[in-house]
């Protein structure tokens, strides 16, 4: 197995993911409309309710619109991670995941390649959203767009790995609504995406603790700081740690010897 082999494999997985994404225009628009609705409606309504004081990484008073953009960027990645998780379950039920797993390359590599492909798609969406947000008047420093790229890669991988891990627990597609209710919404609302942590502490110290431990909060802060050319070291370590944890567990869950398939069989056997 040469390096070229690995590269061709990764390339073809990314190309396929990109092609599939382009074919699902509704998915593209849904992915874009969701954060735009938040920005154009929710943020405008909230602007008057929620004053945001000067907190790092911001150096002046900012409008709520500006505060909420990094959170919405992370939301795009969260939804993408879950969307990929959903398509993993779907592919598993439909059997098309087998064409992936019959590749002679190591399975951990196939999973990472699949993750990277999903993240590539999510990053494309993020930049389109940031472009529209710029037109809306949210203008981080130009270099921030570049500095955010590694942060987006890490947070996208972390949320994607979480989705991958969840997909190994979800036996059937129908159970996926549970993931929405018990993962996406709590993760999103109990985080610093919509309101700063100090605001949450005023409301409820317990919720503050939850939000501070929430990996999604750390992803939001990592993106927020990088967009303003700062590094939040704590968030960085937290995101990298969670990525390692989720990815490690997902690789174990999909391992041929120890994973869930060996215990309960493929989709055809369950039928």
């Amino acid at each position: 197995m040469s390096a070229a082999t690995y590269w061709y494999c990764l390339r073809s997985i990314i190309v396929r993911e990109g092609l599939r994404f382009l074919h699902q225009r509704e998915r593209f628009f849904a992915a874009l409309v969701r954060p735009l609705v938040w920005l154009a409606i929710f943020a405008v309504g909230f602007r008057a309710v929620l004053g945001v004081s000067i907190i790092p990484p911001y150096e002046t008073y900012i409008l709520y619109d500006e505060y909420v953009v990094p959170g919405l960027v992370a939301m795009i990645q969260l939804f993408n991670g879950m969307q990929n998780s959903l398509s993993m379950v779907y592919d598993r039920e439909m059997g098309s995941m087998r064409t992936l797993l019959v590749s002679p390359l190591p399975r951990w590599y196939l999973l990472v390649a699949k993750l990277l492909a999903g993240v590539a798609v999510s990053i494309a969406q993020v930049y389109v959203f940031l472009g529209i947000a710029w037109l809306w008047g949210v203008e981080p420093p130009p270099l921030g767009y570049l500095a955010a790229l590694p942060a987006l890669l890490l947070s996208g991988l972390m949320l994607g790995a979480l989705g991958l891990l969840l997909s190994s627990f979800v036996r059937q597609l129908e159970n996926f609504a549970g993931v929405m209710n018990f993962v996406i919404f709590p993760m999103f609302f109990a985080s610093s995406a919509l309101y700063p942590l100090w605001r949450i502490r005023e409301g409820s110290p317990a919720l503050y603790q939850i939000a501070a431990w929430n990996p999604f909060t750390q992803a939001v802060e990592l993106i927020r700081f990088s967009l303003y050319l700062r590094v939040d070291v704590g968030a960085l370590l937290w995101v990298v740690g969670c990525l390692a944890l989720f990815l490690g567990a997902a690789v174990l869950a999909y391992d041929p010897g120890r994973g869930f398939w060996a215990r309960r069989g493929g989709p055809a056997e369950q039928a």
Partner: protein, 262 residues
């Protein structure tokens, strides 16, 4: 005295060039308490055509999942051209092409995009992929459909594309899990003839799982699986002789009506 003491010579083995294409040895697997496969052993010779017969639930799909390493067997071993699937999964999987029971093409992508994806998964360079895709599409008579979306193809054509895809990376062992289910008689015949020709002309070893008896011919090797156990293996003729029956369906019925032996 000396001449009578010579032990009977074992009959000469047929000339073997290297290890079998597929060797399944004492293979066992269970899900919880449910035993899906119980000490199954058989082999497929290089260039040989073997039919795997079994009713639904006989363990065919579990066997295929194990051979394609969707998950690993609990006991026993699988060797593919001598490579242990557990210890050298990469070398073993490189030799295999698979056509799964469920259709697995992306219907929104073109035929060529599907083939390219598969080639990439096997580490083929784009130019190699392109060349092989042309060859294989020509062979299945779909050379002019490469840029059409899979959605526009008939069921039989899709199956042929899946066979082309499975052969793209030049495997030496082709596994097909119920490849003709849901196809009309014409498409079934077409695919069976195609695979037999590949076997004859290219020395491809084939394991073909089915529950349709009429797909086997007298010269084929068959492996009969029932309730997770191997009930018979050999040529159709020997299996008929062993069960004292005149035809494969009768032999199969005789082998699969009995309850699981203690």
């Amino acid at each position: 005295m000396y001449d009578t003491a010579i032990p009977a010579e074992p009959p000469p083995l047929p000339a073997i060039h290297g290890p079998p294409a597929l060797a399944v040895e004492e293979l066992g697997h269970s899900f919880g308490k449910c035993v899906a496969l119980d000490r199954v052993s058989f082999a497929v010779a290089p260039g040989g055509f073997t039919m795997l017969l079994g009713l639904n639930g006989a363990g065919k799909t579990t066997l295929f999942s194990l051979i394609t390493r969707l998950y690993s067997n609990r006991t026993g071993a699988i060797h593919i051209f001598g490579f242990d699937l557990r210890r050298q999964p990469t070398r073993a999987l490189e030799q295999i092409g698979v056509v799964f029971q469920q259709p697995t093409l992306d219907v929104d992508l073109t035929v060529r995009q599907n083939l390219r994806y598969h080639g990439g998964l096997h580490g083929m360079s784009p130019s190699d992929c392109e060349a092989r895709a042309r060859e294989e599409l020509a062979r299945i008579g779909l050379a002019d459909r490469g840029d059409d979306k899979v959605r526009t193809l008939s069921g039989g054509q899709r199956r042929r594309v899946e066979i082309a895809r499975a052969l793209l990376h030049r495997p030496s062992l082709l596994l097909l899990d119920e490849p003709t289910v849901g196809l009309d008689a014409d498409s079934r015949r077409h695919i069976l003839t195609h695979i037999r020709a590949l076997c004859r002309e290219q020395g491809l070893a084939v394991l073909w799982a089915t529950h349709l008896m009429d797909e086997a011919s007298d010269e084929d090797s068959v492996v009969v699986l029932h309730q997770g156990r191997l009930r018979a293996s050999g040529t159709v003729r020997t299996v008929c002789a062993e069960t004292a029956t005149a035809s494969l369906p009768a032999a199969f019925a005789a082998l699969t009506t009995g309850e699981r032996p203690p």
